[in-house]
């Protein structure tokens, strides 16, 4: 049972990392806390579902198209709404949360709830790993999670756009003096964050079903992971994902499933009490040092 718990804790950690990494990317680069993140996650799932079941497109095509459309929606949201309230954190939160509420409650109003609203799994086969049955979908989550983290690291370290993202994140005005357009970088950051939400939805939703409530859940989980890890830090998201992922599964197995929610909230409280900028809130520390 112990080994099996570890396997499922690992999978759970990657689910949390996938859920949080897009929110973290957007916040890390442009400082926009995208509270419509959960809604974009659910919206992309409904888009995939529509294309699969009503337009009868193949799975890969609907997945790619819905990821693309979600990225475009993110960019449009920035250009037409967020740009006007840029730099006022509270207005940004209210605007994005309002958009998120509108999207999620629209889906609820349309009544798109039930077990038939789900996305297909990649394969129905499952493996025996360490005494536990693990299906292909969960293995895919771990692999795609690893690939995304690696890809993101390569992107931000070796491409001009990725380096520009990190420059904007550190000092916007200095980045401007090198010809990096801060509005364009922020548009891309919201768009990429939305795209990562859509990728997460495409591979995580098949484990359950699409429901508006899931949108709020994803947002809360993403926030929890980002706060524990230190907002804007990718390393922090990974470490926090593992801490909460393991803590949740172990409480589930050894204490009781009704305690799982308490564990992640307690983790937030504990981290905020000891280290208010999060585990890896490094930027602030360096500033204090100098």
């Amino acid at each position: 049972m112990f080994a099996g718990t570890i396997v499922f804790a690992l999978i759970n950690s990657f689910i949390l990392i996938l859920m949080a990494i897009g929110f973290n990317l957007t916040f890390g680069i442009s400082g926009v806390a995208n509270f419509a993140y959960g809604a974009l996650y659910i919206m992309s799932a409904y888009m995939s579902w529509t294309m699969l079941n009503l337009l009868h497109l193949p799975f890969w095509a609907s997945a790619v198209l819905s990821i693309g459309f979600t990225m475009i929606s993110g960019a449009l949201m920035y250009r037409f709404v967020l740009l006007r309230v840029r730099g006022q954190a509270l207005s940004e939160v209210i605007a994005t949360f309002g958009i998120g509420l509108a999207i999620l409650e629209l889906f609820r109003y349309l009544g798109l709830v039930g077990f038939e609203y789900t996305l297909p799994v990649f394969s129905n086969e499952s493996f025996m790993i360490a005494g536990a049955y693990v299906d292909i979908q969960r293995i895919a989550i771990v692999l795609i999670g690893l690939l995304l983290v690696l890809g993101l690291w390569l992107f931000t370290h070796f491409t001009a756009t990725g380096l520009a993202f990190r420059a904007i994140a550190q000092d916007e005005r200095t980045a401007l003096t090198f010809g990096i357009d801060s509005d364009w970088a922020a548009t891309l950051s919201v768009s990429f964050g939305a795209g990562l939400a859509a990728i997460a939805a495409t591979i995580i939703i098949p484990l359950g079903s699409i429901a508006p409530d899931e949108g709020y859940d994803v947002l809360i989980k993403a926030l929890a992971i980002c706060i524990i890890g230190g907002l804007g830090s990718t390393g922090g998201v990974i470490v926090a994902g593992f801490i909460v992922g393991f803590a949740e599964r172990f409480t589930d197995t050894y204490i009781g499933s009704h305690w799982t929610m308490i564990v992640s909230l307690a983790a937030i409280l504990l981290v905020l009490a000891i280290k208010p900028s999060g585990l890896f809130g490094r930027q602030k520390e360096l500033e204090e040092r100098i």
Partner: protein, 248 residues
């Protein structure tokens, strides 16, 4: 190369730069001398276009109104309303005051970030030149810029501006907070990049002593107003400059 005509900059009702005019010819080193709050940084921001970006962002926030009157003409083209990015593409590059480096990135990465608009091969070439100009940076390549000393950060900041391949390099208080030794090293580097690469330099400074010997011409600013201008030698002999900046 650059003509500034009757430039005026207001922050709300406060006049930061008052009816300022200057000419910069190709290949010159021009000094803008003035004490704190004289308007040096405002002038640099106006020349690099940062003020245009600040104006847009303040307007979005409903904050301070920034107004710019007058004109800035670069190689016969009026660039007064051009964005900072468009000016960088034309070859006007600013190195901001207080060692503007990206603290979380390594020295080599900082230089790569600065080369955002340039091709990879070009960036590599200029990086090699930067390391010959500032040999002290070579052993620090992989170190995070935030952990560098002030002087090393300033060298890196100038190196970053060079990676952009400027034709007109604007340096805002490059000697701020540096030891006399480091000031000397930097002044020598500025002279050699001007001579070797033919880059025109406009630098603002409050330490007149190390700067006056190297500049072709200088403008003295006081409370946003031009009070004196002339060649470096003329300014050095001026009794008012001697009293105000050399303490003689």
């Amino acid at each position: 190369m650059l003509d500034v005509n009757n430039l005026m900059v207001f922050f709300e009702n406060a006049l930061a730069l008052n009816d300022f005019s200057m000419q910069v010819r190709e290949g010159e080193i021009i000094g803008v001398i003035g004490s704190n709050s004289a308007g040096k940084t405002t002038l640099m921001n106006a020349l690099s276009g940062l003020i245009i970006d600040m104006r847009i962002k303040e307007k979005r926030k409903g904050g301070e109104r920034i107004t710019v009157y007058g004109s800035i003409v670069y190689e016969g083209v009026d660039i007064t309303e051009l964005s900072p990015g468009a000016r960088v593409k034309k070859g006007i590059v600013l190195s901001r005051e207080r060692h503007p480096v990206f603290p979380e990135s390594s020295v080599a990465e900082n230089l790569k970030i600065a080369g955002y608009l340039r091709k990879k091969a070009e960036v590599r070439e200029v990086m090699a030149y930067v390391f010959t100009l500032f040999p002290a940076l070579v052993p620090l390549r992989a170190k995070k810029a935030g952990f560098l000393s002030g002087g090393e950060q300033q060298m890196l900041a100038i190196g970053m501006a060079l990676v952009v391949r400027p034709r007109l390099l604007l340096l805002d208080e490059p000697l701020l907070g540096l030891s006399p030794m480091m000031q000397k090293a930097l002044v020598n580097a500025i002279v050699s990049l001007n001579k070797e690469s033919g880059i025109t330099v406009v630098l603002s400074e409050q330490f007149a002593r190390p700067v006056l010997p190297i500049i072709d011409r200088g403008y003295v600013l006081e409370n946003g107003m031009l009070t004196l201008s002339g060649t470096g030698a003329e300014l050095m002999d001026n009794p008012e400059i001697k009293a105000a900046y050399f303490g003689i």
